[in-house]
């Protein structure tokens, strides 16, 4: 059987699918797993830029599907980690250039040589999403703690549940702001879980270093273990391998004094409202 095919999707755009894919992929590779990422967002590819591999692309997914090159020729190796490859999307074609059957065939060819195949799904629920879903053994739904993203995540989960084959779905809540959650101005993790009722894979805090890392093309999980978001993605990768990693504490920033001040400014019960 070989690799597990994990599709990362969200419904809504801009919640951090591509960032999550890149960071989880790097984190898995750092655990010495053999990993390949497939960018399924044909026409709007971005995983290459987030991973910092955009200058080394020769062929792409559509070239492979249409037989212009061998699968191996299109795969870009990330030299910073032991065993990580990117299969980039085509930039000048549209989603209909690839079919769900093509995706199944492609991943079946990759399965024997890898342990994890991560597919970065495009936003939306149409062709591109269908392509990304077709070969999936598991799905990770990425959402943000805000109503539009949670609504779209619910739609995606509904669509996956409506599939004939049962595909396990888990949730990553990205860009959580502990301070806003504490003030009651952002949906908490338990609010989101109550609405979506799916298994929680991880919570990733809002982190400016994420933007800086994608500016540089160096996913946060590559080196910066102190970065809060990087640590969360590392934890998510370890959970994917089956390790029991406790959920990250979204501790509010600030020292003892600020926390004390908050204690008096807010009711005692709302000190740990994040989970």
């Amino acid at each position: 059987m070989g690799a597990r095919v994990i599709t990362i999707t969200s419904g809504k755009g801009g919640v951090g699918k591509t960032t999550a894919t890149a960071n989880i992929a790097v984190a898995l590779a750092e655990l010495n797993k053999k990993v390949v990422c497939i960018d399924a967002d044909i026409g709007l590819r971005n995983l290459d830029v987030v991973m910092g591999l955009e200058n080394r692309i020769v062929y792409d997914l559509v070239d492979v599907v249409e037989g212009r090159c061998k699968l191996r020729q299109a795969m870009v190796k990330d030299k910073r980690v032991p065993d990580l490859y990117l299969l980039p999307a085509a930039q000048t074609r549209d989603k209909t250039a690839v079919s769900p059957q093509d995706m199944v065939k492609l991943t079946d060819e990759l399965r024997p040589d890898f342990e994890y195949i991560l597919i970065d799904s495009p936003a939306g629920i149409e062709w591109g999403f269908r392509n990304a879903l077709a070969p999936a053994d598991e799905v990770i739904v990425v959402t943000n703690p805000e109503a539009p993203a949670v609504r779209d995540a619910d739609r995606i989960v509904g669509l996956i549940e409506a599939e004939e084959r049962k595909i396990p779905v888990s949730l990553v809540i990205n860009r959580a702001k502990s301070e806003m959650i504490r003030k009651g101005d952002m949906l908490s993790v338990s609010d989101v879980l109550e609405i979506l009722s799916i298994q929680l894979l991880g919570v990733v805090p809002e982190d400016e270093l994420i933007l800086i890392s994608s500016n540089k093309g160096a996913p946060l999980t590559l080196d910066d273990r102190k970065a809060p978001a990087g640590a969360s993605f590392h934890a998510i990768a370890r959970r994917l391998t089956g390790e029991k990693v406790p959920l990250d504490d979204l501790k509010p920033p600030g020292g003892v004094l600020r926390r004390l001040a908050r204690l008096f400014g807010a009711s005692v019960l709302s000190v740990w409202p994040v989970l």
């Binding site: 609504r151 619910d154 409506a162 609010d191 609405i195």
Partner: protein, 130 residues
Amino acid sequence: MASLFDRFLGRKEPSSAQIAKERLKLVLVTDRSNLSPDQIRAMQREIIEVIKRYIEIDELQVQISVEQREREHYLVADIPLQRNRSYGALEYPDSPPTAPDSRGRSKSNKPLIDEPPVSSEDTIPHQPPS
């Protein structure tokens, strides 16, 4: 944000996250069921009509909602029957007040609105798209 003083008096405005959560739950009723809020109200009216043909009910207290347990959904109807009608004349001088029910719903007999609202916890089952 409510001040400490407000909190002391138990005055609490819902936080924006609570508002978001309630709005989200309501919009998901429509999303998941493919029923518009109008259709849901119409369904409630029709259910009440059918039941009234057979039994006297306290129409103003009827609550029909969809409850979510995990990712399964249940249509749940709370339909209080009209009391002391078929038995007739048994009356107590000091009838105890009606016990509040487990959900702490208001037992006021005055209609607050014309038709039973969709409760804010309503959600309606996913229907696989055809």
